[in-house]
């Protein structure tokens, strides 16, 4: 009997040691460019770009400063790095806008089933209608308007299914395809719904405040989806699942859901959003054919003093979703500002209203 007990304990320990979280190769980085903004420029929000490859020698992106609605253009070319007021007047926010050129701005507004093309004066040039049978939505918490060439990705939700109850979510996760792909080639719109919620969402009906996945498009037109509380990345070709693989962070071991009785409790929700780890977004780098999955780690919430720097990381995967490694950042770097460029990844540092030394950096990842 004693022999049996000892064996059982031994086997338990051996099995326990086999169950481990992934150990991704640590990828370091070096700062390639850094531009310190004057004190008046901070709290910037990245406006998404079209994700196809641009000229390899030059790059530019737009950033919105919300409190005064100034849009800055940051440009890198053979003359170096420059930051200028673009003089663009946006009718909307960074998360539902894509600037093609200074006088060609795409905007999607929740509640209006159309994609709008405007000019630099914010006047409508054209609109592309989305049929009423869809419920397109951009949720600033989880999704952005995404574009590659003539294809736009917008979240898709439901006006009738109650996401607040477990029964409702079980139905929602089963029935809703959470992404709409809108193609505007030759002035003719074509729309497809795509995506499926992860199996564990559909089986448990748990609430992770995740009803729209983050998405991006490769140059081959494959659409990649990333959910907050799921280790897999999903690649879709048109509307069919092409492949899926675990692209997980070594710093995330589990996800907690929100109990239904707490769904209106703002103190609980605040703590949940600040503390819980989750995959914030996925970006495609057309210059290196890589996916960057941004993982927010478990953070501490302290309402007695401002938090010290906490951590997030980027899990890097090749175009077949094989993980190449992971690089960790402090929250001094703004995880929502990551953007691939031909020169490295662009990030904003100290990008908040408290600090006076906000800067724009390009980091070169070292494999």
């Amino acid at each position: 009997m004693r022999w049996f007990t000892l064996c059982s304990i031994g086997i338990f320990f051996i099995l326990s040691s086999c169950v481990q979280y992934p150990h991704n190769k640590n990828i370091t980085y070096e700062v390639k460019y850094e531009f310190h903004f004057p004190d008046s420029i901070r709290s910037l929000h990245l406006i998404n770009q079209s994700s196809e490859m641009h000229d390899k020698l030059s790059w530019k992106a737009y950033y919105q400063q919300l409190h005064n609605n100034i849009v800055y253009e940051i440009k890198i070319d053979e003359d170096g790095l420059s930051v200028n007021n673009s003089n663009l007047i946006l009718s909307s926010f960074y998360f539902n806008t894509i600037i093609q050129t200074a006088d060609s701005v795409f905007t999607f507004e929740n509640g209006i089933n159309e994609l709008r093309l405007g000019n630099d004066n914010n006047s409508r040039v054209k609109s592309f209608e989305i049929e009423q049978k869809y419920t397109p939505v951009i949720d600033p918490f989880s999704s952005r308007l995404v574009r590659s060439g003539s294809t736009f990705l917008i979240g898709n939700t439901s006006k009738v299914i109650d996401f607040g109850s477990k029964e409702g979510r079980l139905e929602y996760y089963k029935k809703i395809k959470p992404i709409i792909s809108l193609n505007i080639t030759n002035d003719r719109n074509s729309i497809n719904e795509l995506g499926h919620f992860p199996n564990h969402y559909r089986e448990s009906g748990n609430n992770y405040i995740d009803h729209i996945p983050s998405s991006c498009i490769t140059e081959e037109g494959l659409i990649c989806l990333s959910f907050f509380a799921d280790d897999l990345l999903y690649l879709y070709k048109d509307t069919s699942l092409f492949s899926s693989k675990v692209v997980s962070s070594q710093f995330i071991d589990k996800f907690s859901s929100i109990p239904d009785e707490k769904r209106f409790d703002m103190l609980f929700l605040k703590k949940y959003v600040i503390e819980e780890p989750r995959y914030i977004s996925v970006k495609y780098d057309p210059y290196n054919r890589l996916f960057y999955r941004i993982a927010k780690h478990k953070w501490e919430h302290n309402h007695k003093k401002r938090k010290e720097y906490q951590f997030w990381s980027v899990v890097i995967a090749d175009s077949n979703l094989n993980v190449l490694g992971e690089t960790r950042f402090t929250s001094e770097y703004d995880m929502n500002s990551l953007q691939p460029t031909p020169f490295g990844i662009a990030l904003l540092r100290s990008n908040n209203s408290m600090e006076s030394n906000a800067s724009f950096v390009i980091l070169k990842l070292i494999y």
Binding site: H67, R263, F264, D265, M266, L267, L269, K270, V273, I274, H303, K304, K305, R306, S353, M354
Partner: protein, 147 residues
């Protein structure tokens, strides 16, 4: 014996609440003094704290309710101060009728008083008497709470 223990626990609960409110009063006064050169007044007063973690619709709804209460001549409201990091939700009425304290860094969220969405602090005789965070399903109770 059981009743004695219950009474002791109740007394401990009351004491801990009272100590917490005293600490909140101290920290809140220190903040008001350092940021705005003011203190909690002697007369009944209401502070409305706008949290960065909020539902914007809730904030608009709360401000509309307060405007209605201010417009109602039959009611005698305590004076209201609004602590905000973004004054874009405030109407002309609120800017004129309330004391608006603007703190772009929302430092009032780090005083040890738990804040989210809209937090209401009631004060009287230079002390905090109660605090309340408005949950998503309790926005309508703001009228009851400030009266």
């Amino acid at each position: 014996m059981v009743n004695y223990l219950k009474a002791l626990l109740f007394a401990l609960f009351i004491v801990s609440c009272s100590t917490e409110l005293q600490n909140h009063t101290k920290e809140f006064n220190r903040y008001l003094n350092s940021q705005f050169n003011t203190m909690i007044p002697e007369s009944d007063h209401i502070y409305i704290l706008e949290s960065k973690f909020c539902c914007q619709g809730c904030i608009q709804k709360v401000y509309l309710k307060i405007e209605e209460e201010i417009a109602d001549d039959t009611k005698q409201l305590p004076f209201i101060s609004i602590l905000t990091y973004d004054s874009s939700f405030l109407s002309e009425t609120l800017l004129n009728e309330c004391n608006v304290l603007f703190d772009k860094n929302a430092d009032y969220e780090y005083l040890g008083i738990e804040t989210a969405n809209i937090t209401i602090i009631k004060t009287s005789k230079r002390k905090i008497t109660s605090t309340m965070v408005l949950s998503l399903d309790k926005i309508d109770v703001v009228s009851d709470f400030i009266n």
